[in-house]
Amino acid sequence: MKILVCISHVPDTTSKINFTDGDTKFDTNGVQFVINPNDEFGLTRAMWFKEKQGASVDVANVGGPETEPTLRKALAIGADNAIRVNTEATDGFYVARQLAKVIQDGGYDLVIAGRESIDYNGGMVPGMISALTGANFVNTCIGLEVEGDMATVTREIDGGKETSTAKLPLIVGGQKGLVEESDLRIPNMRGIMMARKKPLTVVEPIEANQETKAVQFQKPTPKGEVTLVDPENIDQLVTLLHNEAKVI
């Protein structure tokens, strides 16, 4: 089985979010970048298929040279090959078109992407690559098994979960639950050494449209002071929630 894990390169979850150029660009100053958390679960699940079922695992990212340390980290965790499509990831549709090309060229059986990346939260790349390549698709995936050319997939639905079967090739939008948090892999010394020698191929983008454009960013208006209620006077909270906030 040939697996591709799509890796988004995103600001670490503790990052302060600021903008530059008249609030038109994300300010990367002092920001540490990591593998998108949703993708990390997918990558660890892919390692399981590699170790237990002899799958090969490639990782791909659409982005500039600055994303290579993130791809190297994925190689250090255990991926075999990395592919970087050398272009700026301007919108989800554009990224999906680039990845669809990588998938068609590579003939992958299983593609694991994250349900969304935590920077733009578009939540569109996995679905769009499935529509572009014609492969089956399951989103918000929290369980994945493969036997031969059939996959059994569990997805999170509102208020529960749902299990389905689908033939490969399959694209999943993964998240926490694909593996447990405690099973997430972190690169060890040996992995880091080996990753230096693994292939990281840079491919040029295909001609494709960008369908949306983020033209401006805004930060939420700062919150007013919290209204503290005395624990001896909880009636007051109920009154405030009813009369002032009007939520009960």
Binding site: T13, I17, F19, D91, F93, A96, I118, D119, Y120, N121, G122, G123, M124, G127, M128, S130, A131, N136, F137, V138, N139, T140, R155, E156, D158, G159, G160, K161, E162, T163, S164, T165, K176, E181, S182, E211, T212, K213, A214, V215, Q216, F217, Q218, K219, K223, V226, T227, L228, V229, D230, P231, I234, L237, V238, L240, L241, H242, A245, V247, I248
Partner: protein, 322 residues
């Protein structure tokens, strides 16, 4: 060239999210000077949609679509959009709608903006405001494509009543075998509990509650309020509560009207996921807990004393206001 809206239902009843997207679609249609057409798949009583401004309902009744199937549903909605010549298609942010929206966008060669929180800033050029960086910021997105798909954030717009004729028309999309590549074999869903996505009120517990055995009062508080229960990430990582309750940047997003956090410190990753909630209440014994900076109302106190009292006061309030 009406605005098309997919109005989701469950057990032949429209979801609240359906009325919200219908209300929003009416707002967009007014800006564009056009009407609203809804697509309903094995849905509820179409006349209900009229209350929220829907002029026409394309009713699909098809046994093959009795369980949700993203590809088939996207195919059906696409055919409706093409028939109506819709330039704007609106869907909600339920798990199912987020599943099908990107497929729909590709089929319509449309730009797609998810997590949209307001009516378009302008329609020419077409610009919408959406959340980004998991609620740490907003971004204004320009959509130059002929057709646009908009995913509306839950609870962002609210329900707005409006007159609409809601004339119903049977619609019979042609589906292919290829639409059914994914076959649902089992659904496991708690029907007696409010889900986080649907809830107007969410009650959340953190590590400050010390152990799973102390969740009785959280559930009781949720019960009194008709709320869903949620938890912080470490609480689900330790197995005190199911993963499905984990909210925050790496868990479920919460955009409720009221969010009550008990024994949650308010780490940046937690706040990111719940910030879209309108009113936040924190109960924490540490006055320095970062959550107090993000909350509207706070009680500095021991959860084990405060929560039982709050339950009692809310019960009194309910019986006085019943």
């Amino acid at each position: 060239m009406s605005v098309l809206v997919y109005t989701e239902s469950e057990g032949q009843k429209f979801k609240k999210a359906a009325f919200e997207v219908a209300s929003y679609a009416k707002g967009v249609a007014t800006m564009l000077g056009t009407t609203v057409t809804a697509v309903s798949i094995n849905g509820g009583d179409s006349s209900e949609l009229g209350t929220y401004g829907v002029d026409k309902v394309l009713e699909i009744k098809n046994d093959k679509l009795s369980t949700f199937n993203a590809k088939a549903y996207a195919d059906a909605i696409k055919q409706a959009a093409v028939q109506e010549g819709a330039k704007v298609v609106v869907v909600s942010s339920t798990a199912d709608s987020k599943f099908l929206a990107p497929l729909l966008a590709v089929h319509l060669n449309a730009g797609y903006a998810s997590n949209v929180v307001e009516l378009p800033e302008s329609v020419s050029p077409f610009k919408v405001k959406r959340t980004a960086f998991t609620n740490k910021a907003f971004n204004v997105t320009e959509m130059p494509t002929d057709v646009k798909v908009i995913g509306l954030s839950n609870n962002a717009f609210g329900l707005k009543e409006n007159e609409g004729a809601a004339a119903s028309d049977a619609f019979d999309p042609s589906l292919s075998d290829g639409d059914f590549g994914v076959q649902v074999t089992a659904v496991d869903k708690a029907t007696d509990k409010v889900s986080i996505a649907d809830a107007e009120i969410v009650v959340s517990g953190g590590r400050g509650l010390k152990g799973p055995e102390n969740w009785g009062m959280i559930e009781e508080l949720a019960d009194v309020l008709g709320a869903a229960t949620a938890c912080s990430k470490p609480v689900s990582d330790m197995g005190w509560r199911p993963h499905s309750e984990h909210v925050g940047q790496t868990g479920k997003p919460v955009a409720s009207n009221l969010y009550i956090a008990v024994g949650v410190s308010g780490a940046i990753q937690h706040l990111a996921g719940i910030n879209a909630s309108k009113v936040k209440v924190v109960i924490n014994n540490d006055p320095e807990a970062p959550f107090f900076k993000a909350a509207d109302y706070g009680i500095v106190g021991d959860a084990f004393e405060v929560v039982p009292k709050l339950i009692e006061k809310l019960k009194e309030f309910k019986s006085n206001n019943a």
